[in-house]
Symmetry: C2
Subunit: 147 residues, 2 copies
């Protein structure tokens, strides 16, 4: 069993994807983040869903979340308006999180070691500079405990 | 729509749960971590799945994951053996990550503000000191973009 056999589809966005479309993708999937690919389709970083909310919710409300219940300018509608027309690029943190990459020929245990080292529960599988898909920690753990 | 209406079941472990059982729970679910509750059933922290691998894989292999393909002592079996009989307590990081808590009466937007502030894509819903369940970022995002 090699990385290429475990690579699963995963929704990707580009730097210029509309942030509201990214939010909709997050809402449709059971995922805490999205893979951001560069213009050649190579994996670049992860867009954490938390970063989408951080961008769209006023700082003074984040500092005191109880205000969200009483301030008019915080509504689902206002959040969507704040995201529409904004590129994903503008939502990324100042230091984008590294998305670990493994080769298609890497073994389950090499992938496990990469996840242990980086602390990121997701790796991108790349072969011949093409992204084949991703492997999540839970898919990998499944291979390990049922071996 | 209040937090108590959105609270979903989520697998929990205790400090003395066997780490191999925790690994099996992670493998069965589509989750990057588990909620750890204290002896009264109150949410205490998150056990990241990455931490389970970090505990079970020798440090020198984490430093050079290519070794995993060639070193005999790194196998799925060795990982399971390293976890069996070890309490979850021993796997937690030195500074356990705070699991944000919201009240059952909190609104969708208050929860969104808490997730934005903490950067943790999961909150526990507590009412009368009892954990009702959790709300994930993607469930919350679903409420926001379809509002």
């Amino acid at each position: 069993m090699r990385a290429r056999d475990l690579a699963a589809d995963f929704p990707v966005v580009r730097m210029d994807t509309d942030a509201l479309d990214a939010a909709r993708l997050l809402a449709e999937q059971d995922l805490p983040g999205l893979v951001v690919v560069d213009e050649r389709g190579a994996p670049f970083t992860i867009l954490p869903g938390t970063q989408v909310l951080r961008f769209a919710i006023p700082t003074y409300v984040q500092d005191d979340p109880r205000l969200a219940a009483v301030v008019d300018e915080v509504s689902a509608d206002a959040i969507c308006r704040a995201l529409a027309g904004v590129p994903v690029r503008d939502l990324l943190p100042a230091r984008p999180r590294e998305l670990p990459v493994v080769d298609g020929s890497d073994t389950v245990l090499e992938i496990a070691a990469v996840i242990a080292r980086t602390g990121v529960p997701l790796v991108a599988v790349v072969e011949h500079q093409q992204m084949l898909g991703v492997i999540t920690l839970d898919a990998l753990m499944d291979r390990i405990v049922t071996a």
